[in-house]
């Protein structure tokens, strides 16, 4: 990404990680660049300098082929060490699909992913209920709002032990749940067997967020909808507010 020719600072600078096997990096980058003034910079998995960034996104794909377990190998890349520090200092980190799996494996988010209940890859539009509209990633949505975004994964069956789940619920860390189009969180609306229909969670501090559905795929009405824009808009708002830009 070339430096912006303007002197005014951009409203938000995103880093989009490329692990070997990432395949939604370009989609995510495209989505970011459709937002007025937002900048996206690709981050090769061996890079370690993130200090020019406001938000790091780990995109979807099959890092290292998803061999062994999704995200298991990617989490050891030099970049992830930097992401850990970046998050510890309060930087915004979001994992989408495979990126979410990497964050789980890295321990930046609690829990683990198993194979989908029916053992099949699923790609379809699903309904999601926004359970927490106070995070830096969801503030543009309303509590209880139902949005539509596609999932495309083989291992999105979220698991955490009982204690962990109670903690997530108590702290409002469950951010998105699979629901029916009316917003009811039902078993039938659960596409992959995820515990408590969980589709997205954040860490306790709220600055690290992972979701299985793909918001970057629903930022343009021509190709499926615009419900995903709220995620990026929320991040931009949060960055503006923090930096006073």
């Amino acid at each position: 990404m070339a430096a912006s020719p303007h002197t005014a600072a951009p409203p938000a600078r995103f880093g989009v990680v490329i692990f070997p096997g990432s395949n939604c990096d370009a989609d995510t980058h495209d989505a970011i660049e459709t937002f007025a003034g937002a900048e996206g910079r690709y981050l090769w998995h061996k890079e370690t300098r993130l200090d020019d960034l406001d938000c790091v996104i780990l995109p979807g794909g099959f890092s290292y082929g998803d061999y062994l377990r999704s995200g298991a190998i990617a989490r050891f890349s030099p970049l992830m060490e930097a992401v850990r520090r970046f998050a510890a200092e309060g930087g915004l980190v979001m994992g989408i699909c495979n990126g979410f799996q990497v964050l789980l494996e890295a321990g930046l988010l609690p829990g683990a992913m198993q194979q989908n209940e029916k053992l099949k890859f699923i790609c379809r539009l699903v309904s999601l209920k926004v359970e927490n509209d106070q995070t830096p990633f969801t503030r543009r949505y309303r509590q209880g709002q139902v949005i539509q975004a596609p999932i495309a994964h083989h291992e999105g069956n979220y698991f955490i032990d009982e204690e962990g789940l109670a903690e997530l619920e108590a702290n409002g860390q469950v951010v998105l749940r699979y629901c029916d189009p009316e917003g009811e969180v039902t078993q039938e609306a659960n596409p992959n067997g995820s515990l408590a229909n969980i589709a997205g969670i954040c860490n306790r501090e709220g600055n690290v967020f992972g979701m299985m559905p793909h918001p970057e795929r629903v930022c343009d009405a021509l190709v499926g909808g615009t419900d995903g824009r709220g995620v990026f808009d929320s991040i931009i708002d949060s960055v503006r507010e923090r930096s006073g830009r």
Partner: protein, 79 residues
């Protein structure tokens, strides 16, 4: 030095693969099979030396198994 690693889904965790196999067995003529659990079996060769066991243990803990959902055991085979 050869090593064998056995990784199994943690007790109490739903194992979708095992469950699916268990459900499809009767249709293939296998009745009464239960408690099917599917895990991983990894073979590898390690540099010889005293640290081998410890190194393998670390490898399992850090990479080969995910302790949140999996248990592991291993065997070292001296040749």
């Amino acid at each position: 030095m050869k090593a064998k690693v056995y990784i199994t889904p943690k007790a109490g965790i739903l194992d979708p693969q095992g469950l699916t196999i268990e459900r499809s067995l009767p249709a293939l003529g296998f009745e009464g099979v239960s408690n099917v659990r599917v895990g991983k079996y990894i073979e590898l060769e390690l540099p010889d030396g005293e640290g081998a066991g410890e190194s393998l243990e670390r490898m399992c803990r850090k990479l080969l198994a995910n302790p949140i959902i999996e248990d592991f055991e291993y065997e070292l085979i001296e040749e």
